[in-house]
Symmetry: D2
Amino acid sequence: MIDIQSQSDTRAIALLKVGVKGLEYPIRVLDKMKKIQYTTAHVDLYANVLPCFKGTHMSRFIEVFHQYREDISMHRFLDMLRQVRSSLEAESAFGQVSFPFFIEKAAPVSGLMGMMSYQCHYQGRVDSSGRQFTVTISVPLTTVCPCSKAISSRGAHNQRGMVTVNLELGPFFWIEDIIALVEDCASSPVYALLKREDEKYVTEQAYDNPKFVEDLVRDVYTSIRALQQFPSFSVEAETYESIHNHNAFAYTEYHRG
Amino acid sequence: MIDIQSQSDTRAIALLKVGVKGLEYPIRVLDKMKKIQYTTAHVDLYANVLPCFKGTHMSRFIEVFHQYREDISMHRFLDMLRQVRSSLEAESAFGQVSFPFFIEKAAPVSGLMGMMSYQCHYQGRVDSSGRQFTVTISVPLTTVCPCSKAISSRGAHNQRGMVTVNLELGPFFWIEDIIALVEDCASSPVYALLKREDEKYVTEQAYDNPKFVEDLVRDVYTSIRALQQFPSFSVEAETYESIHNHNAFAYTEYHRG
Amino acid sequence: MIDIQSQSDTRAIALLKVGVKGLEYPIRVLDKMKKIQYTTAHVDLYANVLPCFKGTHMSRFIEVFHQYREDISMHRFLDMLRQVRSSLEAESAFGQVSFPFFIEKAAPVSGLMGMMSYQCHYQGRVDSSGRQFTVTISVPLTTVCPCSKAISSRGAHNQRGMVTVNLELGPFFWIEDIIALVEDCASSPVYALLKREDEKYVTEQAYDNPKFVEDLVRDVYTSIRALQQFPSFSVEAETYESIHNHNAFAYTEYHRG
Amino acid sequence: MIDIQSQSDTRAIALLKVGVKGLEYPIRVLDKMKKIQYTTAHVDLYANVLPCFKGTHMSRFIEVFHQYREDISMHRFLDMLRQVRSSLEAESAFGQVSFPFFIEKAAPVSGLMGMMSYQCHYQGRVDSSGRQFTVTISVPLTTVCPCSKAISSRGAHNQRGMVTVNLELGPFFWIEDIIALVEDCASSPVYALLKREDEKYVTEQAYDNPKFVEDLVRDVYTSIRALQQFPSFSVEAETYESIHNHNAFAYTEYHRG
C-alpha cells in the first residue's frame, strides 16, 4: 500500500512540530502518601519533520503512548518521548500531558477530610542534545485584598484565586510539596470540606493575612528560589476579584544566573 | 439534481428538532439609553421533521437568519422563527441566540464610567398553537457570607457570583431594568472600574449586607414576582466560594397560579 | 456557635435545589471487561429547602459524597443521594456526576489496540415517592453526508460527530453495550489508532454507509427501542460539518406509551 | 486615603507583568468593505512593576482602555498601550485583545451570501526601546486526507480544520487578505450557506485537492513568505480528524534572516 507520508517534498520547509492533539487517556502517576494515584489525562505528542519528507506517521505516536500509559511518572514520560523520537526517526519529540492531581486534605480545626484537585501539566522535549522538562502546577487559594482592608472601616473584599508555577526539572521533587509551599503563601488555602469552626478559622486567618496578586507571586517566588532545586521557574497569580467581573493577574520568572 | 432530504422515510420516527448549531453572527439589539446596541451572537435554529420525510434543508435556516441579522430585538426574533417555520414547511421552529449585552456603569462614589457585560439568551418556539419565548439574563455580583460574618471575630468570606434569571415573555420589558433589579438584591453589584473611594464604599456596603445563595434567589424571586409582568420565571444563583474550589448553588421557579 | 442556616425564614419561598457545584473527585465505576475502572468526575449535589428554613448545610454534601467516592456505580450513586437526603433532612436530593469512560478498542483490520474515551453522566433524584435516574452517554463517530455523495461525481464530505443518548434506568445495563449499539449506527466508528490498512477499511466503510444526523437519530432510536429496556430515552446527534463552521443537529425522544 | 500599592517593597523582586485579565468590551475595528466593523472583545492589559513598589494601580488600565474602546484598529491599540505605560509610570505595557471578525461570503456557485466568523487576536508590547505587535488570525477550512484518498478505492476522509497564523506587524495589511490567502491553501474553504449546487462544487473541489496538516502549514508559509511583508510569522494547522476523536497538528515559524 502506498506510503504518501514518506514521499519526498520539494517545498524545502522544515516543520517544527507535527503530531496528535487531544488524546484522552487514564493514567497513573506517583503519589507521596499512596505510592500511586489513578487519574485521567489530555495528551499531545509531536515530532519535527525534515524539509525532505512529506509528512509524519501519526499512528506511531499512539502506538508508543499506549505502551507507556499505565505509568506516567516524570521520568517515564521522558522515556516515552525518546521512544517517540526513535519510532518516528525524528530529531526532536515533544509531549504534553495535563491531569488533575488529587490530595485528601484535612480541614484546619475539625480535621475532617475532603478531596482537593490540582491541575498539573508535564511538558517535555527530547532531541540529540538532551532533554527539557517542565512541570506546571495550579493551586487554588484565597486572597484578601490589602487595599480594601486598609481603607474600609469593616470587612475586606476577598476571592478565590489560582497560583500557577512552572518548574524546570532538576532533581526529583513531589508535586505535593510544591502545592503545600504555594498554599503557605496564600491569605488562606481553600478546602473541599469546612465545618463552622473551620470556616471561622479560615475567615480570620485570611483577614489577618491580606495579599495582592503581586504579593502572592513574590512570596511564592521567594519560597521556590530558596529550595535551590529548579534551574528556572515562573510564577503567576490570577484572582477572580469579587468586586469586578474581571481578574487581577501578576507574573514573573526566575533563571539561574 | 437529486433532493435526498425530500425523499420519503419508512422508519416512522418523528424528529422533534433538526437544524444548525453554533452559527456566529454580529447582531443589533435594543438599548434603553442608546436605542440600539451592536454585539455578537451564537445562534442555533431548529425545526421538527415529520416521520415521512428523510430530512430537513439546513441551508434554509441560514438564508432566513441572514435576512434578519441586522436587528434581533425580541419580536423580530419571533418573526424570524415564523419565517423559518414557513420556509421549511415545518410544524414547529425553534431558535436560541446568546450574546453579551453591554451597559456603561458609573462607579458608586467617583462616578467614573466603565463597561459591564451581561450574558443574555433568547429562546423561542413557534408552532400552529402560538409561540413561547423566554429571555435569560446572567448578572455577576458580590456576595458576603452571612455565616462567616456571624461566627468570625473579623472579616467575612465573600466572592463573585452569578444570578441567572429566565423570564417567560409577557409585555415588553428592558433587559437593563432586570439587571438593575438583580444588582439591588446582591451584597453589592460588581463594577469594571473602581477607584479607592469606590472600593471602600463597595467593601463596606457588601459587608453590611451579607447574602447566602438562598437569600439571593429568594430576594430576586420576590422582586420579579412583584412586577406582575412575567407568566413564569426561574432564578438561580451560583457563587464562586472564596474558601472552596467549588461553587454554591440555589434555584427556584415561579408559575402564575 | 450560631447556626444561621437553621434560622427561620419569613419570605415563604421554597427553594427547589440548593447545594454544591463543580466538585472534582477521582472515582471508580464498573467495567465489563476489567470489573472496575478508575476515572475522574465533576460532581454537583443539591437538596430542596423548605420555605421555613434560611438555608442548607453545604458541608454535609461533601461529607456524604466523600464516603461514597471509592465506588460510584449506578446503584451506589442512588444510595449516596438517599444519604444526602437523610443527612440534610430534605424532601428531595439531586445529584449529577460526569466522567470520561475508557474502552480499549481494536483497530478493524490490524487489530492494534488504542484507548477511546466516552463522556458519561449520571443524573439522579430521590424523594419520598421514589427515585429517578438517567444515564447520558456521548459517542464520537464518523458520518458521510448522503446528499454530498449523491450529487458529487467523486468524494463526499464527512466529519466527526457525536451521538448523545439519555437513558432512564430500568434493569441493569452496561455502558459498553450502549456505546457498541451507537457505533453500529454510524457511517463508521472512530478509533484512537489506525494503521494504513485500517484507514482504507474505515474510509470505504464510511463511504458505503452515508448518514445524515436525521438518520443517526432514527437508527439509534430504533436500536434502543428494540432493547425494550428503558422506560424513556432521548437521542441527539451533532456533526461538526466539514464544509461549514457550524454543526448539524437532530434530536428526538421516546416515552413508553 | 492610604495608597498601599505605592508603598515600598523590600523583597527585591521585579514583576514582569501585572494587570487585569478578562475584560469584555464592545469594540470597532477596520473593515476593508464597510470601513468599520462592530464586534466584541476579551481584553487583558498588563504593565511591569519595579522591585521597589508594592503593586500597580489596576483601575488605571480600565480608565485608559475605556477611552480607546470605540476604535481598536492596530495603531490605536499601540497608542492605547503607550497611554497605559505613561499612566502607570511603567517601563513596559502589554495588551491582548481577542475578537471575532466577520466577513460576508458568497457561496461558490449560487452566489448566496452567508456570514463567516474568524477569531482574531492582537498582542502588543511597548517599552522605551519601541514596540512589538503581532496579529493572530484563525481560519476554519476543510481538508481531505491525501493518504486516505490514495489507499481507498472510493471516498476519502475529510474534516473541518483550523489554520492559525501569527504575524509580526510590518506595513499595514488587511485581515481580509490574510484570510483569503489561507483559504486558498485549503482543500476547500468552508461557508455558512451552501445550496446543493454549491455543496457539489465544494465536495469535488476538496476531493481534487487533498492536503495533510503538513501541506497546509507549508503552503500557507510559502504564500505568506512571498508577501515579503512580515518580519516574522508562524503557521499552525489543526484538523478535527473525522476518523479519530483527536486532532492532527502541524506548526512552523519564519524569521527574516
